[in-house]
């Protein structure tokens, strides 16, 4: 398999160079802007403190959790047909989380202070304290699990235990991330006891989109270069599960939209009517980013075509990124107690610096991914599996 892996050849070098250049340019631009203007280079304000960098972090953190949950299908729950993507899932989960953390680090007011102030002050009441703990442990266990796979330990007792621990940490980390928003009763658009379930589900959907895209990227956007087991997976279980995930995501959004619009509370109702559904971008993300791929994936002929799978993965990628943005900003657009100082919904669109952080995060994923393909065999799976396939 690794011989067929185009990312280890010239194409890989080209992609590595390109993503490295984009990464460095966006990083340097963001550094210069933040260095000279501070966070005044963001379009956030005291009235709307969390903007696109937070949404980007949220997107990456959840995509990472989604990939971790997908990896648990073979590693924890014994769905052996998913073994061909398990190692790639774990690696992607690791690098996507690293990229998310890099974006978050650039967003914070005093990032280095965080390193001592969070552990030393031990504020267990804060969901953000637990976010730090759980995602740090999540990262550690992903790395540990990857090391086990790298040494060919797929089914040893320790490997399984690490896999289960990693699965539980993913649940804790992303569930707790949901509670950062879901426990805020003063922000009714977010306040939702079942938000962790919504985050788990949509996390897996975004993880699946990433997985499908990167599997094809690694195989030169062709299926005939894949191992038989992987080919079988990509024409069977994966597109079906992908369809179910996108459908479920749409159902979740519909449920939130209906309850939100039914509510008299303007802090929920107006977010749907005057912000989300009055935005062309939101409509695009919903209908083109989620509904269109769902229709494509429902059709048994279309869903097995390489191009259609790729299209669906890219659309869902972008659609869910947009969903995260509108989720984060939507919780804040109704002015909190500001009266006539802010007579309408708070206007927010990301600044060039905020975009550069998002681009930095995306490009970092590509840099790390190509490096991963160069240095590791991400297509590795247990030896006996290919014969079974």
């Amino acid at each position: 398999m690794s011989n067929n892996n185009v990312k280890q050849g010239m194409a890989g070098n080209g992609l590595l160079l390109l993503s490295l250049v984009v990464f460095l340019v966006s990083l340097i631009y963001a550094f210069m802007q933040i260095g000279s203007n501070g966070h005044a280079s963001f379009n956030t304000s005291s009235a709307l403190p969390w903007g696109q960098p937070i949404a980007t972090y949220l997107y990456f953190a959840l995509a990472s959790s989604g990939l971790g949950l997908l990896a648990s299908l073979p590693l924890v729950f014994g769905f052996k047909q998913y073994y061909p993507v398990a190692k790639r899932c774990i690696f992607l989960a690791f690098i996507v989380l690293i990229s998310g953390m890099a974006v978050l680090a650039m967003e914070l007011g005093n990032v280095f202070r965080m390193l001592w102030a969070i552990p030393l002050n031990f504020q267990t009441q804060s969901a953000m304290f637990w976010m730090g703990i759980f995602y740090a442990l999540d990262l550690l266990f992903l790395l540990w699990k990857f090391r086990k796979m790298e040494s060919g330990e797929w089914d040893s007792k320790t490997s399984k235990q690490v896999g289960i621990a990693s699965f539980l940490l993913v649940l804790l980390a992303s569930g707790n991330l949901a509670l950062i928003f879901g426990m805020m009763s003063m922000r009714p658009f977010w306040f939702d006891a079942l938000l962790p379930i919504y985050f788990y589900f949509t996390a897996v959907t975004s993880g699946m989109a990433a997985l499908v895209f990167f599997v094809y990227l690694s195989h030169g956007f062709r299926r005939d270069t894949m191992s038989p087991a992987l080919q079988k997976l990509m024409t069977g279980a994966v597109p079906k599960l992908f369809a179910a995930l996108v459908g479920g995501t749409l159902l979740f959004i519909a449920a939130r939209a209906i309850t939100g619009m039914y509510s008299n509370n303007p802090e929920i109702n107006l977010v749907w009517t005057d912000y989300l559904f009055s935005s062309t971008t939101y409509h695009l993300s919903l209908w083109v980013g989620l509904l269109l791929p769902f229709i494509i994936l429902l059709n048994s002929n279309l869903r097995n075509q390489v191009n259609m799978q790729l299209l669906a993965s890219i659309l869902v990628f972008l659609g869910l990124f947009s969903e995260r943005f509108f989720f984060v900003v939507g919780g804040q657009v109704v002015p909190l107690f500001k009266g006539t100082w802010i007579p309408n919904l708070i206007q927010y669109s990301p600044s060039a610096t905020e975009w550069s952080l998002t681009i930095m995060g995306w490009s970092l994923i590509f840099v790390l991914y190509v490096l991963g393909e160069k240095f590791f065999n991400l297509s590795a799976m247990p030896d006996n599996l290919d014969q079974d396939a």
């Binding site: 501070g38 805020m184 100082w341």
Partner: protein
């Protein structure tokens, strides 16, 4: 131990914003970083429209949601300082979660786009003292562990009930009445400057205090009490509530 509270009589408040100005001068805040301001609302439609206004400091909540969410304990409720909620600028990482969690919108991240041009931070840039900006006049009282003075970049700031003044009052002071020469120097700036005397400051733990008597006699209420945050700021008089948000361009169809 004292529990400092504020009472604002809306029947006496004229919405003149003297409190807002006094606060900004006392605490060296930037335009838009209004630790205290007066919000204006309108309700209903012509010919029965009403104009309302509401002075709004930090509520110094008894059960402050901003304190619960802070991952570094940078924001904390200091019972020994009368229950004031402070931000320790040496610990704040600038995650802004407290600003999300505050139901009253009274926390500020001054490292943002300027409200007015020219930007005062460019005219008086922060120097080696690590301040976000350094105006020529600064309050001599500075205590970053309580968020008093001019903040460094990347931290959240808020009203401290003028702790740098109230903490110097003689022990046992119950009522901070600006008309009493013995304590007038220790009265919070917004209270001292209030021309119609709509603001009162004192000890909520003392049943004899003026603030407690006013709350009892005139049925003081707390804003957004359903949040459970239990403010230490009480409002008297008509209109001690905030109309539900409605975009200005939609008009009132009620």
């Amino acid at each position: 131990m004292a529990k400092w509270g504020m009472v604002i009589d809306l029947d006496k408040c004229t919405g003149c914003q003297a409190c807002t100005t006094a606060c900004a001068m006392e605490n060296n805040t930037l335009p838009g970083e209004s630790w205290q301001d007066v919000l204006f609302y309108h309700e209903g439609e012509y010919p029965s429209a009403q104009m309302k206004w509401l002075p709004r400091p930090c509520m110094q909540c008894e059960n402050p949601s901003c304190v619960h969410v802070c991952p570094t304990r940078a924001t904390y409720k200091d019972e020994s300082a009368g229950g004031v909620v402070f931000v320790d600028w040496n610990k704040c990482i600038g995650c802004k979660y407290c600003m999300i969690a505050c139901p009253y919108g009274v926390r500020f991240y001054a490292d943002e786009k300027p409200l007015l041009e020219p930007d005062l931070r460019e005219i008086f840039p922060g120097g080696q003292d690590k301040q976000l900006w350094s105006p020529p006049y600064q309050s001599p009282d500075e205590d970053w562990s309580k968020g008093i003075g001019i903040q460094p970049p990347g931290v959240v700031s808020k009203c401290t009930f003028c702790h740098h003044k109230t903490s110097k009052a003689p022990a046992g002071t119950v009522d901070f009445d600006e008309d009493n020469p013995a304590v007038k120097e220790y009265v919070p700036a917004c209270v001292r400057t209030c021309a119609p005397k709509a603001r009162y400051f004192g000890d909520l733990d003392n049943p004899e205090s003026q603030v407690n008597q006013l709350i009892g006699d005139k049925h003081g209420v707390r804003l957004k009490d359903h949040t459970g945050n239990k403010p230490q700021v009480y409002y008297l008089g008509a209109g001690a509530g905030v109309p539900a948000f409605q975009p200005a361009d939609k008009g009132d169809k009620s």
